[in-house]
Amino acid sequence: MPLSSTIYVLAIPFFMFLFLGLVATKMPRKITGVIGVLGMAVTTVWAYAIAFTYFFGNGEGQMLDGVRQQVVTTDWTWLSFYADKLVVKLGVLVDPISAMMLIVISTVSFMVHLYSLGYMSDHDGNPEKGFQRYYADLALFTFSMLGLVVSTNIFQMFIFFEMVGVSSYLLIGFYYGLQPANHASKKAFIVTRLADLFFLIGILILSFYTKTFDFKEIMGANGHDVCNAFTSAQGLTFMGCSVTGWALTFIFIGGAGKSAMYPLHIWLPDAMEGPTPVSALIHAATMVVAGVFLVARMFPLYVLEQGAMDIICVVGAFTAFYAAAVACTQSDIKRALAFSTISQIAFMMTSLAVSSANSKLIGGHEAGLGYMASMFHLFTHAMFKALLFLCAGAIIHAVHSNENSKMHGLHKFMPITSIAFLIGCLAIAGIPPFAGFFSKDEILVACYEKGIGWGLWMSMVAGMTAFYMFRIYYLIFFWKKHEVHGEHAPKDQPWTMTVPLIVLALISCVAGFVPFGKLVTWDGNLLETHLNLPVAGASVGIALIGIGLATVMYWKENPLPDKLATMFKGLWTASYRRFYMDELYQFITHKIIFQGISKPIAWFDRTIIDGFFNLLGNVTNSASFGIRKMQSGNVQGYVSYYIIGAVLLAAITGAVILFF
């Protein structure tokens, strides 16, 4: 498949969106769903072909002297102003990370499309309303996300950044009849939109100094030739920091909003109000890593701005710990998985931030390891977290509840789901040979290279990950015998929902053996990776400790967890209430912003601004009333106005010209 056909990978979901959204609304639900799945299947095959061509093919300039090159396969000028001084382009850029993202997005999206055939067919026994709308929105999301990763310039990326935000909004609020879904979709949109405002400011600052939006023009083909405009702008300072540092920090805030970094994470747990397959696709595997992707895309600039990198590093490390701490106590399984997602994305962010781009060897490892590890973890995490969410969906579909107190002991009833979930847990906990082990190991190695403190901190979080994941697992599938509510005992779901679980579980088993260092690196050079035995051993050990602790506490029903909860009551409640972040936001927005800032602005708007427009309106209205006689309806009058107008025009002009 020639790389120039990458554009069709985007085109198929886009036209599917138009078709499903406009035409198919009247069609039978089954057919709509099948069309959606088939369309996505074609997209997936195509994306795989593109990625295969890019990584293993030769020709079309994707490989030059053993270095992978960025290939721009489509390049349209969308807007151009002021004799091409301000040009906005739309294009398709294929490089290691975008090719990898094509695989991630299309795989997970296809699995979710297939899975939704079963999951969305009924809602607590009733046929689902808006089935067609659901598939149309999924297609829109897939298109937007694919467009985001292949963006050739930062402006295009911003457009697609907003579009994934919109489609996420639509899908979180899919059950728009339910109040919590409404609130959650609004919350997600407002929080990410606020972050995107910073992103936009960052774009404006950056492009003001570099005079271009284009990634290739700013960073050079492989990130090694950052343009002079950028490096010279580094010398300019604003409030003690370089302007480029400000720009990159603002851009990071945009990414932090989408990637749910502390303190902008508050929307993600609530976003679980959407249908569970949506959570798997958008809020676990693809959209939430948009921020990581953004930083990775502009990595060559970030390494030149160590200040911005330090901010990312601190935010990432803290978020990883914070989210893991919250995940340990949540009783809603989707919320627990959501916090786990936040924690894992923070792992990726931290890994990017500890990475350096120097070409010399550091501690026996080539630099850029953190970057590679981050992308690796993004890839494996997308697979096993989608798996976990889809398992959660299957369970919720079976027992009609999100609370783990309604589950317990499901292992006997849903063996396939249980095993798939276990594989997901082993992968995320970092047990070899599952996928998460390899990627997390690389991240930890990169962290230890940055400093022993960072390494220890992240190792501790990795241990907590193992603990809370197995806590969830045991509470769902073991703990005590399942009490059957209602008439039907829960069972494994139909094949449309089980097949994706099996496929993703298989991927989670083998994805760790992908030689990522040879495929995805920040500058296209190949990177030799070795298993760092001390780090690997330590991380497996700490994961085993976490699992062991979870086994002791949650394998069988026992009073130990309750005892611990009462012993550390304050801590437990704080963790359960997510350390009161939502309450803090409530306080800040309602008490400080609404009272202190919004009220005066509202007064100004209502009296001054509205007053001006009322004046304008009144003047207009009375003028309009005054001249209405002109339109008398008789032709003599019309002709009189005509001739008076023509003569006056001539007379005044003549007078002005002749006498002045």
């Binding site: 304008l616 003028a623 106005y641 005509y642 107008g645 025009l649 002009t653």
Partner: protein, 486 residues
């Protein structure tokens, strides 16, 4: 005579072929098959529209009276698109009971008026221009009177004929002054003759000429016929009058002002146009606010829109010309969408006032949606095409760099805000207001729906597909000889 000169006017020849085909069908086909005439005419015209996108040679023919270049080609194509939508939307109406007996005339006359507009666009001699103008005007009077049964239709036609004749007379008087002073009617010759000659007579001539074309464009104070005629005429004819006829006149106006009076008289006519634009936009808005009849309301809105189109003329540069043509293209889609909806509802229920549209969204969501798009586009709300057309036309005017023009753009901007009031009033009626006697759910004919679909796509896409404006801009900036005079 060198007959190969006809090769320079393929679009005119093609249009005449369309006319002849329709005429032959109407004359010789058995009466039973005449029901198919509207569809036949539309299809033939559609084919012609596609073929007329074939490139035409550049050059002047027939004693340099007729010019063909990329800009005239593009302008004719723009008009063709609008004409096609009008024909498509009028199929059902033309086959309705009391019009069907004359449907042949409708199609023949309307195509002939388009031919006249072609001559206005391409004419480089005042004689040809005036012939084109009259060819475009007189059949329209017949079309305005087309619904013989209605008193309003007669009245409108009478007013139209009387005022049109008057304005033609005034304009011809002005042209006779020009001829008297220069002894020629060729655009380029006049331009070279009047350099440095600032006689009062020529200023009067210029004022009369502006009033004559201003009449076609319905610029204030030459606009007073507009509301009555738009209201009385059949809706299809009104939509034709409001976009196609206006578009051709605007283009011809630009050519005349820049090419004939560009060199020596640019400050003079720019001043005149300045005053006209200010009062046109403002007065159009002020009247539009008070209208409750939608056709009348769109008449005043179109007066105001003509003022915006004139902003492209006053900038008198390549950007202004491109943005003017772009504006006309967008305006065609937006206005035809609005008139299309009005026509459907009028044909089915006879209702045409804003209050009748209360609660329309509940019963006819698609019609309400298209109408909303049209109103948003006319009001210039992003991301619809109307926003981009306004943006480019302001950009073109601001490019001249003079402070006076900046003030003009500011006035136009304020008027945009005022215009939003009445455009959104229609949207409010459809979506927010409730009524007991809502228009029932309608099933429009597929041709009408097709027309509305084209308009909807145009409104949504033209702004976003940037190559349309870019190619227009490339075309106009290649017309070096035209702008060399300024």
């Amino acid at each position: 005579m060198d007959y190969s000169q006809f090769l320079m006017m393929p679009q005119e020849i093609g249009l005449l072929v369309v006319f002849l085909l329709v005429f032959l069908y109407d004359t010789f086909m058995p009466t039973k098959t005449l029901k198919g005439l509207p569809l036949f005419a539309t299809v033939v015209f559609g084919i012609f529209t596609i073929f007329s996108f074939l490139p035409v040679p550049d050059g002047m023919v027939f004693g340099e009276m007729f010019e063909s270049n990329k800009a005239t080609w593009a302008m004719k194509n723009i008009l063709n698109i609008g004409m096609f939508i009008v024909l498509l939307q009028s199929i059902k109406w033309a086959n309705s009971d009391f019009v069907s007996i004359r449907r042949g005339e409708f199609y023949e006359l309307i195509i002939l008026t388009l031919f006249g507009m072609y001559l206005m666009i391409s004419g480089r001699h005042f004689l040809l221009f005036v012939i084109g103008l009259e060819t475009a005007s007189l059949p329209l009077a017949t079309l305005v009177a087309f619904e013989k049964k209605y008193y309003e239709s007669h009245e409108a036609a009478a007013k139209y004929v009387l005022t049109a004749v008057f304005s033609s007379a005034i304009m011809l008087l002005g042209l006779s002054f020009v001829y008297g002073l220069t002894g020629t009617l060729y655009f380029t010759d006049i331009a070279t003759m009047i350099v440095g000659d600032k006689s009062l007579l020529l200023i009067v001539a210029l004022a009369f000429l502006i009033s004559g074309v201003g009449y076609k464009l319905s610029l204030v104070p030459f606009h007073l016929w507009t509301a009555d005629v738009y209201q009385g005429a059949p809706t299809m004819v009104t939509s034709y009058l409001s976009v196609i006829s206006k578009g051709s006149a605007a283009f011809a106006f630009f050519v005349i002002l820049v090419q004939v009076f560009g060199a020596a008289y640019a400050p003079v006519w720019e001043w005149m146009l300045y005053a006209i634009i200010v009062i046109t936009i403002t007065v159009g808005n002020l009247f539009a606010i008070r209208q409750r009849n939608l056709k009348r309301f769109l008449a005043f809105s179109s007066i105001s829109q003509a003022g915006y189109i004139m902003l492209g003329v006053i900038s008198a540069n390549a950007v202004g010309m491109a943005s003017m043509m772009y504006y006309i293209l967008v305006y065609i889609f937006s206005n035809l969408a609005a008139f299309g909806v009005i026509a459907v509802i009028e044909r089915k229920t006879g209702k045409v006032t804003t209050d009748d549209y209360n609660g329309l969204f509940k019963t006819n969501p698609w019609l309400a949606f298209v109408m909303m798009l049209a109103m948003f586009s006319l009001g210039g709300i992003p991301p619809f095409a109307g926003f981009f057309s306004k943006f480019f036309i302001f950009l073109g005017a601001a490019k001249t760099g003079s402070v006076a023009i900046y003030v003009l753009v500011l006035i136009a901007l304020i008027n945009t805000i005022i215009s939003l009031y009445y455009y959104l009033l229609v949207v409010k009626a459809m979506f927010i207001r409730q009524d007991d006697c809502v228009i029932p759910a309608l099933k429009s004919h597929w041709t009408e729906r097709a027309g509305l679909w084209i308009c909807t796509l145009g409104i949504i896409l033209i702004g976003l597909v940037s190559c349309i404006y870019t190619s227009l801009s490339d075309i106009t900036s290649s017309l070096t000889s035209m702008f060399s005079m300024i």
